[in-house]
Symmetry: D2
Subunit: 367 residues, 4 copies
């Protein structure tokens, strides 16, 4: 992929920033209204004592970015600090290291955890830092990664194995959600898995669950483009608009009486009206998507009598989910590149945001 | 406790039935209408090849029995086979053993599992026999234990330690539900536990969770009589009709941000409107009670973002829940006798059913 | 594969035995001395009330069989009942069903669990029936499956999915040991696994661990023939006679500091002198092979300070290990056929026992 | 307890140090030889950017301290940096906070984790910080807590609940090892537990396991003084010098066939010759004590065939073990004060070290 002239200059300093207070490219949400502004004169971030500055190499568009960009109800509800450099699914090279930092060094190739844990609250102290009570959020409360450089606390850097590309590294953040969901489901070899919703996280879940020994993965979506990708990744696919999903799923799971594990990634509240019917007794349903309203659950029938567990995830367990990804991607057992459907320059952001609303899986900006 | 004259005769055969086809006492649901008939001429059960006959020594009234007796909506929904000997929470002595039976012998003191697993379905074959697809049900599909003798498959007999009384043994069935719920919650030492509903299972849960290392148990009920028992068993109690439960619970759980574990035993659907607020992030809610309608669950906030797990139980895991009880009761670490508030003769059944609707915990018939 | 004339006659009754007291082919250990006798006049087994008779379709030679056949020290230590029909890794068709049997029917294709659990002891009652205190043993205490027909308790039949062949089914017994070891290791996706010993169970473990998401599997053996198979199944292989195993393993596991999981399948006591060095802190070592003497373990360094867990397995958990296999084999995610290197007639047993001592993986008799 | 005059002066600054470079009391290992020097002119520690200084309130003598003091083989093997302020089981008040510290404030009552994790190695990143590859060690590599003030990284401070005394807080460090062992054993309610060795950690394990629902705890020691304390805490006790331990243990565990969990706390290698005989099939043995030599383990019989798991612990899981203690001690379910047999002034250190070699459990210096 050819690097455009404007970028090249910045790219010439591979391991170290030559000075501070330069300007850089950035996609900035400046006002509480739809859209964002592409600037080439945004001031580079200044590194603090426990921070690092990372030169961004690849950064992907997430659903959160779309909500912010479109300034819809969800986007407003995030209450971002403005002006804001957007973007958070990224990888890059550490180019500056604060004086208090231990264990991270200049030149290191890293992906970034976008939830900054405080380290002191009860969840942080007991292994649930992903659910920190005082969480910093890259690209939402803190300036993000749709930019040449991004500043983060050193303790959110994940060192990438050499064999993992920057593009793959940029997808560790969404992929880690899929790993987290799979962990939470306590997936066992031979299990049948249902994935509802074939957006990027759903598609990664298809790959991951198969790599982790699922006997079969059944994927649902109403978008034929995405279903097609799911099928190419090994899933048996159904389109609820056309197929008798219940009959199809139960036929595939005759021996066990339903899927062992269902991952709800669509966030569509209507899914909850039927999804319990596809799950076997003592099975597990993991909510990843965020339905916009409460949904009715038949506690007596599905939770108590059929013994189904309903649980959910947000973010990624630190750092076991990341290490699992590092191993699986390094070993070529999961190919995150297969869900990248478009690669663009940051200046081409308008096309990027258009693409993710239509027939695309993951759209990545190469910096 | 004095044995009434009528009983004594039957009791004279301590380890063996002298013949077949005698008559016995039994409380029988004869017709699809409220009430039941106490008979002294009901034919004794005939033992099959893989069955045992047990002389009942103690049998308790369960909520299911009340529904059948009153023939309310739930009672009718159970669709019992009629005529039916009611009753299923029982203990006794094995007095006859079928020719195919291995491992159970005449004279053994036993409590009975009331769910008869088929042993062949997928749940039965994979450690979930409590959720068998072809379950027999004592006192519902099979003649029950409000009688001098009851016939069951030999594989539902649980041998009682000598130090466990028949009365205690009769309560292993409901107590096992509480153990199951505690297991499902993965209770850890030091955890704060909320028990919603102080019926017999809730009261046993209070004792069990404290015995299993809960840092504190908080119990809720609207009935002062039951709350009083919960408090005497070591719980901190709140009455939702009088107390600010949320403030009270969160104050007691400041360090962790809410209870680690909540057990919903009341079956009241209204509870689900608030119970998630009492639970800390990454905590667990176990449904034991059966709300009569679906309840709204805020998947986004409570399940995905706050990471709470909603699960449930029905029946008892075989046989680890029972062995846990055997150890704890034998070691006097749990005293099931403390929730027995009334002991009656079977002939006095009308008073028994009246009691359980009011200020009582467990009502036991001594046979 | 051509069916020999003598066999054909028996094979003509596909679902039902026409009568009792016929003779059949069987490989019989008659005396406490090396060798065995192939007979065509051995009486067919007589079915009891809770038994089934299975027409054997495929049966494999196990290491236990070799010890019995050669009548070495281990073989004598097994103290088999004599005369004994040998053989126990088998599959076939149910041709007769005892009157007390529920859930198994004539004509069903099954594999057999060779450990008969009593169902009543503490391990049996608490989910550890594979470790029954009163275990029956097919082909050791009970007449085995190197024969046209074998009689077993109905509750050791595992119904095979249609897509699983008889040959594959015959290997579920050894394969289930590998599944059990993998479960016990709590293998997680991305883990590095070391398999010491590439006999049949080791080779199946290579496939299984990769199918279950291992990042890499490293296999050790001194036999180049077996190492070659392990490599073809996806393992990185080392020969301790030639390679610097420690350097090789640690280089492959730099990021984690050693393998997460080691499976010791060789039974060679010398392995324990070095194997802990290959395992990372907090990793797990599962003993599957049976070293003939106690081995020294550095509790302080390896168990306490480095936090390594040493555990082991014998037999197969019932029935989750089998269901996992059924799913993985049916889905073609594990190909048990790849470890079958030789297929013979039962009459050719002498060649079979010779083969398994040399360059072979699994030798199967087709009946 | 009356505060001696010499101490009082230092104690007058309850929340803040008035200046730097004062002198303080300290027990110092100055030379590689037996003994230590009590000084009143030792310079107070200087706080770094990510550090805190804690005014020590209570500090206990640990076995490690004894080895250092006596300068025996183990003590020399620790290779301490000299001169060294000894001591590490302590609690106190934060009196100075470095500028980079978040989440800890002056005046906070804390106990100290004595293993300083680096936060960056693989164990640290994946939930095993207690097994850090680059561990700092209080009172061994870093100046310790037999002093008025101690400096530590802020992230090893554990805030104590108000209801927990300083003395109790000083014992969280050894008590956390017992919690860790209990976690590792996956103790379940009703389990029978064997505790080998009734030193302070063993005695705390007795209390903890009973508080966590053990059906019974059996404790072994050859010292009648310690056995007596174990018995007073609720254990059934045996003295291997006098009692038939095997018969006694198996008689108490008839139903299960042995203890479910054994904790080896003595570090005596001879124990491993018999301890497996006391454990039931599928039970767990956790090594806490450090035998000075490798011990023979019968892998075939005990690990593979009997399915026993041998695992071990060192240090405390961060911070769940501490939070469990905080809850149990705050709720008065565990009384750490019951194992404190002697309270001394630091100047009286010689008597302290003498006591711990004889009839004492825990000896605490009140500062």
């Amino acid at each position: 992929m050819p690097t455009p002239p404007g970028t090249q200059q910045t790219r010439q300093h591979p391991t170290l920033r030559e000075g501070l207070h330069h300007n850089m490219r950035a996609l900035v949400k400046e006002r509480p209204a739809p859209g964002a502004v592409y600037r080439e004169d945004f001031p580079e971030p200044v590194c603090g004592g426990a921070d690092v500055v990372v030169r961004v190499e690849a950064v992907a568009i997430c659903g959160t970015d779309v909500h912010l960009y479109e300034w819809d109800r969800s986007g407003q509800d995030f209450r971002p600090k403005l002006p804001l450099v957007m973007g958070h699914e990224c990888s890059g090279v550490v180019v500056e290291v604060g004086p208090e930092v231990r264990g991270i060094r200049e030149g290191q190739r890293v992906a970034l955890e976008t939830h900054f844990p405080c380290g002191n609250c009860f969840p942080c102290r007991t292994g649930d830092a992903h659910n920190c009570l005082n969480m910093g959020l890259l690209g939402l409360r803190n300036d993000g990664a749709f930019a040449d450089y991004v500043k983060v606390p050193a303790n959110v850097c994940f060192p990438l194995p050499d064999a993992v590309s920057f593009e793959e590294g940029a997808l560790f953040e969404p992929a880690g959600v899929a790993v987290h969901a799979m962990q939470r489901a306590d997936l066992k070899p031979g299990d049948s898995v249902l994935v509802c919703g074939c957006g990027p996280i759903g598609l990664i879940a298809v790959q991951l669950c198969l790599a982790a020994g699922a006997g079969q993965v059944i994927a649902l979506d109403v978008n034929p483009y995405r279903l097609n990708i799911a099928e190419s990744l090994g899933a048996v696919v159904f389109n609820p608009l056309q197929d008798d999903v219940k009959a199809g799923v139960l036929d595939l799971c005759r021996r066990r009486g339903g899927v062992d594990v269902a991952l709800e990634v669509s966030g569509n509240p209507v899914v909850f009206e039927t999804i319990f019917d596809y799950i076997r007794r003592e099975g597990t349903l993991v909510a990843v998507g965020l339905p916009g309203r409460a949904v009715p659950v038949d506690i007596s029938r599905d939770i108590a009598k059929r013994g189904i567990t309903l649980t959910g995830v947000f973010g990624r367990r630190l750092w076991d989910t990341w290490e699992i990804l590092a191993s699986l991607v390094e070993a070529k057992r999961v190919d995150l590149g297969r869900i990248i459907t478009h690669r663009l320059e940051l200046a081409d952001f308008e096309r990027g945001f258009e693409l993710v609303r239509g027939d695309a899986a993951k759209v990545v900006f190469r910096m």
